[in-house]
Protein backbone atom coordinates (compact mmCIF):
# COMPACT_ATOMS: atom_id res chain seq x y z
CA UNK A 1 0.00 0.00 0.00
CA UNK A 2 1.42 3.31 -1.02
CA UNK A 3 0.45 5.17 2.12
CA UNK A 4 2.36 2.89 4.41
CA UNK A 5 6.09 2.56 4.91
CA UNK A 6 6.91 -1.07 4.11
CA UNK A 7 9.88 -2.83 5.77
CA UNK A 8 11.83 -2.37 2.53
CA UNK A 9 11.21 1.38 2.65
CA UNK A 10 12.10 1.50 6.37
CA UNK A 11 15.41 -0.12 5.48
CA UNK A 12 15.91 2.47 2.75
CA UNK A 13 15.17 5.17 5.34
CA UNK A 14 17.69 3.74 7.82
CA UNK A 15 20.41 3.25 5.21
CA UNK A 16 19.75 6.70 3.76
CA UNK A 17 20.12 8.16 7.25
CA UNK A 18 23.36 6.24 7.89
CA UNK A 19 24.76 7.45 4.54
CA UNK A 20 23.76 11.05 5.27
CA UNK A 21 25.41 11.03 8.70
CA UNK A 22 28.57 9.45 7.26
CA UNK A 23 28.71 12.15 4.60
CA UNK A 24 28.18 14.82 7.25
CA UNK A 25 30.47 13.23 9.83
CA UNK A 26 33.19 15.86 9.61
CA UNK A 27 30.67 18.70 9.52
CA UNK A 28 28.92 17.32 12.64
CA UNK A 29 32.23 16.92 14.44
CA UNK A 30 33.16 20.47 13.51
CA UNK A 31 29.83 21.73 14.87
CA UNK A 32 30.43 19.78 18.05
CA UNK A 33 33.90 21.27 18.39
CA UNK A 34 32.26 24.68 18.57
CA UNK A 35 29.72 23.66 21.18
CA UNK A 36 31.00 20.52 22.91
CA UNK A 37 34.01 18.26 23.01
CA UNK A 38 34.22 17.51 19.30
CA UNK A 39 33.51 13.81 19.23
CA UNK A 40 29.86 13.83 18.17
CA UNK A 41 30.35 13.08 14.47
CA UNK A 42 32.93 10.36 15.05
CA UNK A 43 30.81 8.68 17.74
CA UNK A 44 27.71 8.84 15.55
CA UNK A 45 29.47 7.39 12.50
CA UNK A 46 31.06 4.61 14.59
CA UNK A 47 27.70 3.66 16.12
CA UNK A 48 25.94 3.75 12.74
CA UNK A 49 28.61 1.53 11.15
CA UNK A 50 27.80 -1.02 13.84
CA UNK A 51 24.12 -0.57 12.99
CA UNK A 52 24.84 -1.28 9.34
CA UNK A 53 26.76 -4.45 10.30
CA UNK A 54 23.95 -5.56 12.61
CA UNK A 55 21.32 -4.98 9.94
CA UNK A 56 23.22 -6.78 7.18
CA UNK A 57 21.55 -10.05 6.35
CA UNK A 58 18.85 -9.66 9.00
CA UNK A 59 15.35 -10.17 7.67
CA UNK A 60 13.17 -7.55 9.39
CA UNK A 61 10.39 -9.27 11.33
CA UNK A 62 8.35 -6.08 11.64
CA UNK A 63 8.41 -2.54 10.32
CA UNK A 64 10.06 -1.37 13.54
CA UNK A 65 12.79 -4.06 13.58
CA UNK A 66 15.56 -1.93 12.04
CA UNK A 67 14.89 0.76 14.65
CA UNK A 68 15.03 -1.81 17.45
CA UNK A 69 18.46 -2.84 16.16
CA UNK A 70 19.55 0.82 16.03
CA UNK A 71 18.31 1.46 19.56
CA UNK A 72 20.08 -1.56 21.05
CA UNK A 73 23.30 -0.81 19.15
CA UNK A 74 23.44 2.79 20.35
CA UNK A 75 22.60 1.81 23.94
CA UNK A 76 25.21 -0.96 23.93
CA UNK A 77 28.13 0.85 22.34
CA UNK A 78 27.66 4.56 22.65
CA UNK A 79 29.11 6.30 25.67
CA UNK A 80 28.61 9.93 26.56
CA UNK A 81 25.15 11.42 26.64
CA UNK A 82 23.98 12.04 23.06
CA UNK A 83 24.54 8.41 21.97
CA UNK A 84 22.26 6.92 24.64
CA UNK A 85 19.60 9.57 23.96
CA UNK A 86 19.64 8.70 20.24
CA UNK A 87 19.42 5.03 21.29
CA UNK A 88 16.23 5.74 23.23
CA UNK A 89 14.91 7.85 20.33
CA UNK A 90 15.29 4.99 17.82
CA UNK A 91 13.89 2.59 20.40
CA UNK A 92 10.58 4.47 20.48
CA UNK A 93 10.26 3.99 16.70
CA UNK A 94 11.07 0.31 17.21
CA UNK A 95 8.37 0.01 19.87
CA UNK A 96 5.61 1.63 17.81
CA UNK A 97 6.57 -0.54 14.84
CA UNK A 98 7.07 -3.75 16.82
CA UNK A 99 3.86 -5.52 15.87
CA UNK A 100 3.11 -4.12 12.47
CA UNK A 101 4.16 -4.93 8.93
CA UNK A 102 4.28 -1.28 7.86
CA UNK A 103 4.33 2.22 9.38
CA UNK A 104 1.39 4.55 8.78
CA UNK A 105 1.83 8.31 9.07
CA UNK A 106 -0.12 8.19 12.35
CA UNK A 107 2.32 5.61 13.73
CA UNK A 108 5.28 7.80 12.78
CA UNK A 109 3.58 10.77 14.45
CA UNK A 110 3.08 8.64 17.57
CA UNK A 111 6.70 7.41 17.57
CA UNK A 112 7.94 10.97 17.17
CA UNK A 113 5.76 12.23 20.03
CA UNK A 114 6.92 9.34 22.25
CA UNK A 115 10.54 9.92 21.31
CA UNK A 116 10.19 13.62 22.06
CA UNK A 117 8.80 12.81 25.52
CA UNK A 118 11.58 10.28 26.17
CA UNK A 119 14.42 12.59 25.14
CA UNK A 120 12.89 15.53 27.03
CA UNK A 121 12.44 13.42 30.17
CA UNK A 122 15.87 11.73 30.16
CA UNK A 123 17.83 14.72 28.90
CA UNK A 124 15.82 17.26 30.93
CA UNK A 125 15.73 19.35 27.75
CA UNK A 126 12.92 21.57 26.54
CA UNK A 127 12.35 23.55 23.37
CA UNK A 128 14.92 26.35 23.11
CA UNK A 129 17.67 24.60 25.08
CA UNK A 130 19.76 24.08 21.92
CA UNK A 131 19.47 20.30 21.74
CA UNK A 132 18.01 17.65 19.42
CA UNK A 133 14.61 18.55 20.93
CA UNK A 134 14.65 21.79 18.91
CA UNK A 135 14.40 19.72 15.71
CA UNK A 136 12.16 17.00 17.15
CA UNK A 137 9.46 19.36 18.47
CA UNK A 138 8.61 21.07 15.14
CA UNK A 139 8.75 17.72 13.33
CA UNK A 140 6.34 16.24 15.86
CA UNK A 141 3.96 19.18 15.53
CA UNK A 142 4.12 19.00 11.71
CA UNK A 143 3.34 15.26 11.79
CA UNK A 144 0.37 15.79 14.12
CA UNK A 145 -0.98 18.50 11.81
CA UNK A 146 -0.51 16.24 8.78
CA UNK A 147 -2.35 13.37 10.48
CA UNK A 148 -5.21 15.68 11.50
CA UNK A 149 -5.43 17.03 7.94
CA UNK A 150 -5.50 13.51 6.51
CA UNK A 151 -2.32 14.10 4.49
CA UNK A 152 -0.60 11.31 2.62
CA UNK A 153 2.54 9.65 3.92
CA UNK A 154 4.96 11.35 1.53
CA UNK A 155 3.41 14.77 2.11
CA UNK A 156 3.39 14.34 5.88
CA UNK A 157 7.04 13.29 5.97
CA UNK A 158 7.98 16.18 3.70
CA UNK A 159 6.43 18.62 6.16
CA UNK A 160 8.22 16.89 9.06
CA UNK A 161 11.56 17.09 7.23
CA UNK A 162 11.07 20.79 6.50
CA UNK A 163 10.05 21.50 10.08
CA UNK A 164 13.02 19.56 11.50
CA UNK A 165 15.44 21.36 9.19
CA UNK A 166 14.00 24.73 10.20
CA UNK A 167 14.25 23.78 13.86
CA UNK A 168 17.85 22.62 13.47
CA UNK A 169 18.84 25.82 11.66
CA UNK A 170 17.17 27.83 14.39
CA UNK A 171 19.51 26.39 17.03
CA UNK A 172 22.25 28.64 15.58
CA UNK A 173 20.64 31.50 17.47
CA UNK A 174 20.23 29.64 20.75
CA UNK A 175 22.39 29.55 23.85
CA UNK A 176 22.87 26.04 25.22
CA UNK A 177 21.54 25.32 28.67
CA UNK A 178 21.82 21.52 28.65
CA UNK A 179 24.59 19.15 27.75
CA UNK A 180 28.15 20.18 27.15
CA UNK A 181 27.10 23.25 25.20
CA UNK A 182 26.08 24.79 28.50
CA UNK A 183 29.75 25.10 29.40
CA UNK A 184 30.77 27.15 26.36
CA UNK A 185 27.82 29.56 26.18
CA UNK A 186 27.97 32.28 23.55
CA UNK A 187 30.96 30.91 21.66
CA UNK A 188 28.65 28.32 20.04
CA UNK A 189 26.30 30.99 18.65
CA UNK A 190 26.13 31.06 14.86
CA UNK A 191 26.38 27.33 14.28
CA UNK A 192 23.57 24.83 14.73
CA UNK A 193 23.50 22.07 17.33
CA UNK A 194 24.84 18.80 15.86
CA UNK A 195 22.14 16.70 17.55
CA UNK A 196 19.38 18.81 16.03
CA UNK A 197 21.09 18.64 12.62
CA UNK A 198 21.17 14.83 12.93
CA UNK A 199 17.42 14.76 13.64
CA UNK A 200 16.89 16.86 10.50
CA UNK A 201 18.93 14.29 8.52
CA UNK A 202 16.76 11.53 10.00
CA UNK A 203 13.51 13.08 8.67
CA UNK A 204 15.14 14.03 5.37
CA UNK A 205 15.98 10.34 4.89
CA UNK A 206 12.39 9.41 5.80
CA UNK A 207 11.02 11.85 3.24
CA UNK A 208 13.25 10.36 0.52
CA UNK A 209 12.39 6.77 1.46
CA UNK A 210 8.67 7.55 1.19
CA UNK A 211 8.97 9.51 -2.03
CA UNK A 212 11.22 7.22 -4.10
Amino acid sequence: MADQLSPARVERWVHGFVDAVEESGEYLTDLDRRSGDGDFGTNMVTALRRVREALAGAEPAAAGSPFQVMGETFLAHSGGTSGPLFGMWFRDFGKVGADTGAFTLAMLAEATANGWATVARLGSAGVGDRTMVDAIAPASEALDRAVDAGSGLAEGLRSAAEAARGGAEGTSDLLGRRGRTSYVGESALGSPDPGAVTIALFYRAAERAAAD
Binding site: L75, A76, P84, L85, L122
Partner: protein
Protein backbone atom coordinates in the same frame (compact mmCIF):
# COMPACT_ATOMS: atom_id res chain seq x y z
CA UNK B 1 57.38 12.02 32.37
CA UNK B 2 55.10 9.33 33.84
CA UNK B 3 55.57 5.67 33.18
CA UNK B 4 52.87 3.07 33.76
CA UNK B 5 52.60 -0.70 33.72
CA UNK B 6 50.51 -1.43 30.65
CA UNK B 7 50.40 -3.07 27.26
CA UNK B 8 48.07 -1.20 24.89
CA UNK B 9 46.45 1.80 26.64
CA UNK B 10 43.10 0.84 25.08
CA UNK B 11 43.23 -2.59 26.74
CA UNK B 12 43.95 -1.35 30.25
CA UNK B 13 40.38 -1.77 31.58
CA UNK B 14 39.70 -5.21 30.12
CA UNK B 15 43.12 -6.51 31.20
CA UNK B 16 42.63 -5.17 34.72
CA UNK B 17 39.16 -6.77 34.94
CA UNK B 18 40.57 -10.10 33.83
CA UNK B 19 43.34 -9.90 36.45
CA UNK B 20 40.95 -8.70 39.14
CA UNK B 21 38.55 -11.60 38.61
CA UNK B 22 41.43 -14.08 38.54
CA UNK B 23 42.81 -12.63 41.79
CA UNK B 24 39.49 -12.90 43.67
CA UNK B 25 37.90 -16.15 42.44
CA UNK B 26 36.08 -16.81 45.72
CA UNK B 27 34.49 -13.34 45.74
CA UNK B 28 33.65 -12.37 42.15
CA UNK B 29 32.96 -13.60 38.66
CA UNK B 30 33.54 -11.53 35.51
CA UNK B 31 31.13 -11.44 32.60
CA UNK B 32 32.59 -10.19 29.33
CA UNK B 33 30.73 -8.37 26.54
CA UNK B 34 28.86 -6.79 28.15
CA UNK B 35 31.42 -6.31 30.93
CA UNK B 36 30.27 -6.57 34.52
CA UNK B 37 31.31 -8.22 37.79
CA UNK B 38 28.93 -10.24 39.98
CA UNK B 39 29.36 -12.17 43.21
CA UNK B 40 30.93 -15.60 42.80
CA UNK B 41 28.11 -16.95 44.97
CA UNK B 42 25.01 -14.99 43.97
CA UNK B 43 22.60 -14.06 46.75
CA UNK B 44 19.06 -15.35 46.75
CA UNK B 45 15.88 -13.57 47.81
CA UNK B 46 17.18 -10.08 48.48
CA UNK B 47 17.13 -6.74 46.71
CA UNK B 48 20.21 -6.57 44.47
CA UNK B 49 22.51 -3.61 45.10
CA UNK B 50 24.30 -2.62 41.91
CA UNK B 51 26.69 0.23 41.23
CA UNK B 52 29.02 1.31 38.47
CA UNK B 53 30.80 4.14 36.79
CA UNK B 54 33.93 4.96 34.88
CA UNK B 55 37.11 3.00 35.50
CA UNK B 56 40.17 4.69 37.01
CA UNK B 57 38.64 4.88 40.51
CA UNK B 58 39.75 1.41 41.66
CA UNK B 59 39.08 -0.33 43.96
CA UNK B 60 35.66 1.37 43.37
CA UNK B 61 33.23 -0.24 42.36
CA UNK B 62 34.26 -3.79 41.47
CA UNK B 63 36.26 -4.08 44.71
CA UNK B 64 33.04 -3.78 46.71
CA UNK B 65 31.28 -6.73 45.11
CA UNK B 66 30.73 -9.43 47.69
CA UNK B 67 28.76 -10.40 50.76
CA UNK B 68 27.34 -7.42 52.61
CA UNK B 69 27.93 -4.84 49.87
CA UNK B 70 27.32 -4.98 46.11
CA UNK B 71 25.74 -7.79 44.11
CA UNK B 72 27.18 -6.43 40.86
CA UNK B 73 29.39 -3.63 39.58
CA UNK B 74 29.48 -2.21 36.06
CA UNK B 75 32.75 -0.63 34.90
CA UNK B 76 32.89 1.83 32.01
CA UNK B 77 35.98 2.96 30.12
CA UNK B 78 38.41 5.19 32.04
CA UNK B 79 36.37 8.08 33.48
CA UNK B 80 33.38 7.23 31.21
CA UNK B 81 29.97 5.89 32.18
CA UNK B 82 29.13 2.26 31.51
CA UNK B 83 26.47 1.82 28.83
CA UNK B 84 22.79 1.29 29.61
CA UNK B 85 22.94 -2.18 28.04
CA UNK B 86 25.83 -3.14 30.38
CA UNK B 87 23.87 -1.89 33.39
CA UNK B 88 20.74 -3.76 32.28
CA UNK B 89 22.68 -7.01 31.84
CA UNK B 90 24.41 -6.71 35.24
CA UNK B 91 21.14 -5.83 36.96
CA UNK B 92 19.28 -8.76 35.41
CA UNK B 93 22.10 -11.11 36.40
CA UNK B 94 21.93 -9.85 39.99
CA UNK B 95 18.14 -9.59 40.37
CA UNK B 96 16.56 -12.25 42.55
CA UNK B 97 13.03 -11.09 41.81
CA UNK B 98 12.94 -8.45 44.57
CA UNK B 99 14.21 -5.54 42.50
CA UNK B 100 17.48 -3.69 42.02
CA UNK B 101 18.90 -0.66 43.81
CA UNK B 102 21.28 1.40 41.66
CA UNK B 103 23.86 3.43 43.59
CA UNK B 104 24.97 6.18 41.21
CA UNK B 105 27.55 8.93 41.63
CA UNK B 106 26.21 12.21 40.33
CA UNK B 107 27.75 12.71 36.88
CA UNK B 108 25.67 13.50 33.79
CA UNK B 109 26.71 10.40 31.83
CA UNK B 110 26.29 7.99 34.75
CA UNK B 111 22.91 9.41 35.74
CA UNK B 112 21.62 9.27 32.16
CA UNK B 113 22.78 5.71 31.49
CA UNK B 114 21.46 4.39 34.83
CA UNK B 115 18.11 6.14 34.25
CA UNK B 116 17.91 4.60 30.79
CA UNK B 117 18.85 1.21 32.26
CA UNK B 118 15.98 1.63 34.73
CA UNK B 119 13.55 2.12 31.84
CA UNK B 120 14.99 -0.87 29.96
CA UNK B 121 14.66 -2.98 33.12
CA UNK B 122 11.03 -1.91 33.60
CA UNK B 123 10.33 -3.27 30.10
CA UNK B 124 11.81 -6.58 31.29
CA UNK B 125 9.60 -6.58 34.39
CA UNK B 126 12.47 -5.77 36.77
CA UNK B 127 11.84 -3.08 39.37
CA UNK B 128 14.68 -0.68 40.13
CA UNK B 129 15.37 2.66 41.74
CA UNK B 130 18.30 5.03 42.03
CA UNK B 131 20.16 6.47 45.00
CA UNK B 132 22.15 9.44 43.76
CA UNK B 133 25.35 10.16 45.68
CA UNK B 134 26.25 13.87 45.53
CA UNK B 135 28.58 14.58 48.43
CA UNK B 136 31.23 16.85 46.90
CA UNK B 137 30.94 20.15 48.75
CA UNK B 138 33.29 21.90 46.28
CA UNK B 139 30.59 21.74 43.59
CA UNK B 140 27.78 22.96 45.85
CA UNK B 141 26.81 26.04 43.86
CA UNK B 142 23.24 26.31 45.09
CA UNK B 143 22.12 26.47 41.43
CA UNK B 144 19.00 24.28 41.31
CA UNK B 145 19.10 24.23 37.49
CA UNK B 146 22.72 23.02 37.32
CA UNK B 147 24.17 19.51 37.45
CA UNK B 148 24.45 19.60 41.26
CA UNK B 149 27.23 18.34 43.51
CA UNK B 150 29.48 15.60 42.17
CA UNK B 151 29.52 12.15 43.74
CA UNK B 152 32.76 11.08 45.40
CA UNK B 153 33.92 8.98 48.39
CA UNK B 154 30.60 8.95 50.27
CA UNK B 155 29.55 6.31 47.75
CA UNK B 156 31.50 3.79 49.87
CA UNK B 157 29.30 4.57 52.88
CA UNK B 158 26.12 4.31 50.82
CA UNK B 159 27.20 0.99 49.32
CA UNK B 160 28.21 -0.39 52.74
CA UNK B 161 25.04 0.67 54.57
CA UNK B 162 22.61 -0.26 51.77
CA UNK B 163 24.47 -3.51 51.15
CA UNK B 164 24.08 -4.51 54.79
CA UNK B 165 20.40 -3.53 54.90
CA UNK B 166 19.70 -5.48 51.70
CA UNK B 167 21.38 -8.52 53.23
CA UNK B 168 18.92 -8.28 56.15
CA UNK B 169 15.96 -8.32 53.80
CA UNK B 170 15.03 -4.63 53.45
CA UNK B 171 12.73 -4.00 50.50
CA UNK B 172 13.51 -1.69 47.57
CA UNK B 173 11.54 1.26 48.97
CA UNK B 174 13.22 1.06 52.36
CA UNK B 175 16.67 0.69 50.80
CA UNK B 176 16.14 3.66 48.51
CA UNK B 177 15.04 5.84 51.42
CA UNK B 178 17.99 4.66 53.54
CA UNK B 179 20.54 5.28 50.77
CA UNK B 180 19.16 8.74 50.09
CA UNK B 181 19.31 9.57 53.78
CA UNK B 182 22.97 8.51 54.03
CA UNK B 183 23.84 10.46 50.87
CA UNK B 184 22.01 13.56 52.09
CA UNK B 185 23.98 13.48 55.34
CA UNK B 186 27.40 13.09 53.66
CA UNK B 187 29.82 15.74 52.46
CA UNK B 188 33.35 15.48 51.07
CA UNK B 189 36.20 17.84 50.23
CA UNK B 190 39.25 16.75 48.23
CA UNK B 191 42.70 18.30 47.85
CA UNK B 192 45.24 17.38 45.19
CA UNK B 193 49.01 17.72 45.46
CA UNK B 194 49.63 16.51 41.90
CA UNK B 195 47.47 15.50 38.94
CA UNK B 196 47.25 11.97 37.62
CA UNK B 197 47.92 10.84 34.07
CA UNK B 198 45.61 8.84 31.80
CA UNK B 199 46.84 5.37 30.81
CA UNK B 200 49.37 5.77 28.04
CA UNK B 201 49.83 9.50 28.56
CA UNK B 202 53.19 10.77 29.72
CA UNK B 203 51.88 14.09 30.98
CA UNK B 204 49.59 14.62 33.97
CA UNK B 205 46.30 16.42 33.30
CA UNK B 206 47.54 19.65 34.93
CA UNK B 207 50.70 21.09 36.47
CA UNK B 208 50.71 22.49 39.96
CA UNK B 209 53.36 24.85 41.38
CA UNK B 210 55.21 23.43 44.38
CA UNK B 211 53.77 25.98 46.79
CA UNK B 212 50.12 25.40 45.95
CA UNK B 213 47.43 22.70 46.28
CA UNK B 214 44.37 22.23 44.12
CA UNK B 215 41.52 22.71 46.59
CA UNK B 216 38.17 21.03 45.86
CA UNK B 217 39.12 18.58 43.10
CA UNK B 218 36.81 15.84 41.85
CA UNK B 219 37.86 12.33 40.88
CA UNK B 220 38.36 12.80 37.14
CA UNK B 221 41.72 14.56 37.05
CA UNK B 222 40.20 17.96 36.41
CA UNK B 223 41.41 21.11 38.09
CA UNK B 224 39.52 22.60 41.00
CA UNK B 225 37.98 26.07 41.11
CA UNK B 226 40.55 27.17 43.61
CA UNK B 227 44.25 26.93 44.44
CA UNK B 228 45.43 27.46 47.96
CA UNK B 229 48.80 27.64 49.65
CA UNK B 230 50.53 24.33 50.36
CA UNK B 231 51.50 23.85 53.99
CA UNK B 232 51.74 21.36 56.82
CA UNK B 233 48.86 18.90 57.32
CA UNK B 234 47.86 20.79 60.44
CA UNK B 235 47.08 23.81 58.24
CA UNK B 236 45.47 22.02 55.25
CA UNK B 237 43.17 19.59 57.08
CA UNK B 238 41.19 22.18 59.09
CA UNK B 239 40.44 23.98 55.79
CA UNK B 240 38.89 20.72 54.55
CA UNK B 241 37.01 19.62 57.67
CA UNK B 242 35.63 22.93 58.88
CA UNK B 243 33.39 23.53 55.81
CA UNK B 244 32.11 19.93 56.07
CA UNK B 245 31.03 20.46 59.68
CA UNK B 246 29.34 23.69 58.66
CA UNK B 247 27.58 22.19 55.61
CA UNK B 248 26.24 19.23 57.59
CA UNK B 249 25.33 21.58 60.47
CA UNK B 250 27.04 19.19 62.86
CA UNK B 251 26.81 20.24 66.49
CA UNK B 252 28.73 19.31 69.62
CA UNK B 253 27.91 15.77 70.73
CA UNK B 254 26.99 14.44 67.27
CA UNK B 255 28.58 11.31 65.81
CA UNK B 256 30.05 10.80 62.36
CA UNK B 257 31.67 8.21 60.15
CA UNK B 258 34.91 9.84 58.95
CA UNK B 259 36.51 8.59 55.74
CA UNK B 260 40.02 9.70 54.82
CA UNK B 261 40.50 8.51 51.26
CA UNK B 262 43.63 8.50 49.13
CA UNK B 263 43.20 9.71 45.54
CA UNK B 264 45.58 7.14 44.05
CA UNK B 265 49.21 8.10 44.67
CA UNK B 266 49.22 9.16 48.30
CA UNK B 267 50.84 6.83 50.82
CA UNK B 268 49.01 5.38 53.83
CA UNK B 269 51.70 7.01 55.99
CA UNK B 270 50.36 10.39 54.88
CA UNK B 271 46.69 9.33 55.04
CA UNK B 272 46.99 8.27 58.66
CA UNK B 273 48.64 11.59 59.42
CA UNK B 274 45.69 13.32 57.80
CA UNK B 275 43.26 11.21 59.82
CA UNK B 276 45.04 12.24 63.02
CA UNK B 277 44.47 15.88 62.11
CA UNK B 278 40.82 15.22 61.25
CA UNK B 279 40.38 13.62 64.65
CA UNK B 280 42.08 16.51 66.44
CA UNK B 281 39.91 19.06 64.66
CA UNK B 282 36.64 17.22 65.26
CA UNK B 283 37.62 16.55 68.87
CA UNK B 284 38.01 20.28 69.35
CA UNK B 285 34.53 20.80 67.95
CA UNK B 286 33.07 18.13 70.24
CA UNK B 287 32.18 15.82 67.37
CA UNK B 288 32.73 12.12 67.90
CA UNK B 289 34.21 9.93 65.17
CA UNK B 290 32.06 6.89 65.80
CA UNK B 291 33.67 4.94 62.93
CA UNK B 292 36.82 5.73 60.95
CA UNK B 293 37.86 4.45 57.54
CA UNK B 294 41.31 5.27 56.18
CA UNK B 295 42.72 4.06 52.88
CA UNK B 296 42.52 4.48 49.10
CA UNK B 297 39.00 3.46 48.09
CA UNK B 298 37.82 6.03 45.53
CA UNK B 299 40.81 7.07 43.45
CA UNK B 300 41.46 9.31 40.48
CA UNK B 301 44.07 7.27 38.59
CA UNK B 302 47.45 8.22 40.10
CA UNK B 303 46.46 11.60 41.47
CA UNK B 304 48.34 12.58 44.63
CA UNK B 305 45.95 13.90 47.24
CA UNK B 306 43.20 12.90 49.59
CA UNK B 307 39.57 13.49 50.41
CA UNK B 308 37.84 13.77 53.76
CA UNK B 309 34.22 12.61 54.01
CA UNK B 310 31.95 13.05 57.01
CA UNK B 311 28.73 11.06 57.27
CA UNK B 312 26.28 11.94 60.04
CA UNK B 313 25.70 8.67 61.88
CA UNK B 314 22.71 7.46 63.87
CA UNK B 315 22.35 4.09 65.57
CA UNK B 316 20.78 2.41 62.53
CA UNK B 317 23.53 3.60 60.19
CA UNK B 318 26.28 2.55 62.62
CA UNK B 319 24.79 -0.89 63.08
CA UNK B 320 24.62 -1.40 59.33
CA UNK B 321 28.17 -0.04 58.94
CA UNK B 322 29.34 -2.63 61.49
CA UNK B 323 27.56 -5.55 59.80
CA UNK B 324 29.91 -8.11 58.22
CA UNK B 325 31.25 -7.49 54.73
CA UNK B 326 33.50 -9.73 52.65
CA UNK B 327 34.63 -8.02 49.47
CA UNK B 328 38.03 -7.66 47.78
CA UNK B 329 38.46 -4.08 49.04
CA UNK B 330 36.56 -4.04 52.35
CA UNK B 331 36.21 -6.93 54.77
CA UNK B 332 35.24 -7.07 58.44
Amino acid sequence: MRRQFLNEPGDVVSEALEGFAAAWPHHVRLNSDPDYVVRARPATDKVAVVSGGGSGHEPLHTGFVGTGMLDAAVPGAVFASPTAVQIRAASMAADTGRGVLHVVKNYTGDVLNFRIAGELLADEGVRSDIVLVDDDLATDTGDSDGPGRRGTAAVVAVEKVCGAAAERGADLEALTALGRRVAAHSRTLSVALAAGAHPGQAQPSFELPGDEVEFGVGIHGERARERRAFGPTSEIVPQMVSPLVEALELVRGERVIAIVNGLGATHDLELYGVFGEVRRFLGGAGIDIARPLVGSYVTSLDMAGCSVTLVRADEEVLELWDAPAATPALTW
